[in-house]
Amino acid sequence: MQLVSTHRNRALRGALALVTSGALLCAAATLSGCNKSSAAATGDPGASKTEKLSAAPAATERSTEASGAAVLTPPGLEKSTAKASDFPTAKIMTTGLKVDDDSVTVGILHSTTGTMAISETGSVQAEKLAIAQINALGGILGRQIKVIQEDGASDWPTFAEKARKLLVNDKVAAVMGCWTSASRKAVLPVFEKENGLLYYPTFYEGLEQSKNVFYTGQEATQQILASLDWVNKEKKAKSFYLIGSDYIWPRTSMKIARKHIENVLKGTVVGEEFAPLGNTQFGSIINKIKLKKPDVIFAAVVGGSNVAWFKQLNAAGVTAANQTLLTISVTEDEVLGIGGENLVGFFSSMKYFQSLDNPNNKSFVEAFKKMWGEKSVIGDVTQAGYLGPWIWKAAVEKAGSFDVDKVVAASPGIEIKIAPEGYVKVHENHHLWSKARIGKAKADGQFEVVHESDLIEPNPFPKGYQ
């Protein structure tokens, strides 16, 4: 017995080393620039490559092109009368892209397997909806859009490989894709080298700008500054406790938040805490917060940790009745996992909420549910994903060409008036002008919009906040 167990313990320690190193590897990959990943201790990311099952079983099987006829289209848009023959292929495309006399091909590059499938499924659905709608309205320059979808499998090298495949082999005219910053950083050199075009939907930490990428989500200042101003004004908040998961997005966000609180709002940060990714126990952190009694808890915890954080917060008696909490990492998608009852009355800062009351959004939600099922919820990133194809379409039509250089040159100033979030405009720095909104969580998992800012200029390299 003695002998056996000593021997066994050695083997077990080997196993422990294996799991831990897997976790570390993954964490390292994440730290190198992953936005809001739910990935934590999942072991070797490469292993998910071979998993071959679709993430939204019934749904993704449906062909985008085929469903074109049945799809609901945004209000106020007429079917385009442009005929492909008015735009001879030789004139509108000079760089070898996959464009012919009646079709143009784009790529969708998201994870439908692996840990990130949780988050990226919504983006894929939104992008396919937008493309189906554009097709139903007559396509682009008289051409129908065809889609080649690739699976990044939550693995950053796979993203780079698939990006190269889409650009070099398939010659797609544009790619809608990526979700985590890590995956975007992985494909960026490929897009720059092959001169491709990427529409990236996630809100992220900023500090990036590339000729070949359009960022349809908010960068950090657009999400943070307006919400801090609001909570300071409305709730007379002076003291803040900052808590996030330990990687680049929360850390950059909290840095910006701290500068703004201390320098602009003249408030104090009474505590700043970064929980390791995948942390499941928040008891001690919650006690620390209780000790400091901040006016506001400002939170950016992600993934499975996010669920644990809110469940344990509620269980420790911290609710909206006795504590103001503002988070930048909870959309309708996250509420599914956290449970509405644990969030009631807390505030979330996003640019889009499913409950937004405007005609664009009403029709968007209706079309989305018709295509993907009544039970679908639509979060901030999903809506940003929906904008990508529309922005690309507008830029192509303005340029009168699919050539990447011409599309990029035509992009600044493009306005999307049918945006579910209301209205967006493309800035010269490739980010979008958009509004910040504060939503108050309700028990049914939706948010009541309690504040809306003016249009905010995107500023991916904020001065004085670095």
């Binding site: 017995m1 167990s5 000593t6 066994r8 313990n9 083997a11 077990l12 320690r13 196993a15 422990l16 799991v19 831990t20 739910s38 990935a39 934590a40 201790a41 072991g43 292993a47 998910s48 998993e51 099952l53 993430a55 939204a56 079983p57 439908t112 397997t113 499938a117 949780i118 805490e273 970064f274 929980a275 390791p276 995948g278 499941t280 126990q281 008891g283 001690s284 952190i285 006690n287 620390k288 209780k290 000790l291 499975g304 940790s305 996010n306 669920v307 644990a308 469940k311 344990q312 509620n314 269980a315 420790a316 008696g317 609710t319 996250e334 599914l336 996992g337 956290i338 449970g339 009852e341």
Partner: protein, 304 residues
């Protein structure tokens, strides 16, 4: 800060330490049994926990749709169902996979790891790629207030109670029942056990199923404090291994002691330092102790 407030804080912090202890213990028990008694390193342990969590979620969905009146009471039976579902899956896995690999311990490690990936993708494809949440009964939500300034999480009390029950059950089963005797006999000397008429194959199957069942139970209980998603199980796996290695395999008391010391160190350090620092210091201490005592805390020559 008043004396009263300090007192409340000490009480609440004390409770979070104990609560963390029971959480760690509950996650590690199943692994400790399978490893200690069979020498199989079950890398899919976290996924068996996820099976438990999903069982509770499915029970919650069924209750919501067919018997909304039972919302307050469904949870406890659901936890029991979770035990049996996970145990049944564990039984099948033993028959189909594990028992072919008993002579090749490293291969079981790889096989169970592969199994864990397959199970994750199964959850993703056939249940929901997004996280889900079971609707919890009112009596598990919020805090219990013994005094106005002390809030004790109700879910923590529940997990604590469950852990005590399960540990006592495992103790009785292992040391006070005929099944326990057979399991321990097989562990000590498989050939002799077989010679005196113990069906060692059956013992193996039963032990593996039991370990998986307890993992399922833990997963079910953790729906009250954590997430339910395809990769939720993997959030627990590192801590689980840590507890078992540090405690010294094959020893229930060791597992308990190890869970207790890790939990106290972690929660106290986390309170006074940052959580990353707490993790670093805890791991460092464990590494040093394991360098001095590679066999873990408890592998006493006297059988407990």
């Amino acid at each position: 800060m008043s004396l009263n407030e300090i007192g409340s804080m000490v009480a609440m912090q004390g409770f979070s330490g104990l609560s963390l202890f029971t959480v760690l213990l509950l996650m590690a028990l199943g692994l400790a049994i399978i490893f200690g008694q069979m020498g199989v390193i079950n890398m899919a342990h976290g996924e068996f926990m996820a099976i438990g969590a999903y069982t509770v979620y499915l029970c919650s969905q069924l209750t919501q749709n067919f018997a909304p009146g039972l919302r307050e009471v469904y949870f406890v039976p659901a936890v029991v169902v979770a035990f049996f579902v996970a145990a049944a899956v564990g039984y099948a896995v033993e028959v189909l996979l594990i028992r072919r690999l008993y002579k090749r311990p490293l291969d079981t490690l790889l096989a169970t790891w592969g199994l864990s990936l397959a199970m994750q993708q199964f959850f993703r494809s056939f249940i929901n790629p997004k996280e889900v949440s079971a609707e919890l009964p009112e009596w598990l939500l919020g805090a219990f207030n013994p005094t106005p300034s002390i809030q004790v999480p109700k879910n923590g009390i529940f997990v604590m109670g469950l852990t005590i029950l399960v540990s006592a059950g495992v103790y009785l089963l292992m040391l006070r029942s005929r099944w326990g005797i057979r399991i321990r006999a097989t562990t000590q000397n498989r050939i002799m056990s077989s010679a005196v008429g113990i069906n060692t194959d059956r013992v193996d199957r039963f032990t593996f199923a039991l370990g998986c069942g307890i993992a399922g139970l833990a997963g079910a209980a953790f729906t009250t404090i954590g997430s339910t998603g395809p990769t939720s199980g993997s959030l627990y796996i590192v801590d689980t291994f840590l507890v078992v290695v540090f405690g010294g395999a094959a020893n229930l008391i060791g597992t308990i002691a190890s869970a207790f010391s890790i939990a106290q160190a972690q929660s106290l350090l986390e309170f006074f330092l940052t959580s990353a620092m707490a993790k670093v210091l805890t791991l460092l201490t464990i590494i040093i102790i394991l360098m001095i005592r590679p066999q873990g805390l408890f592998t006493t020559k006297v059988r407990t």
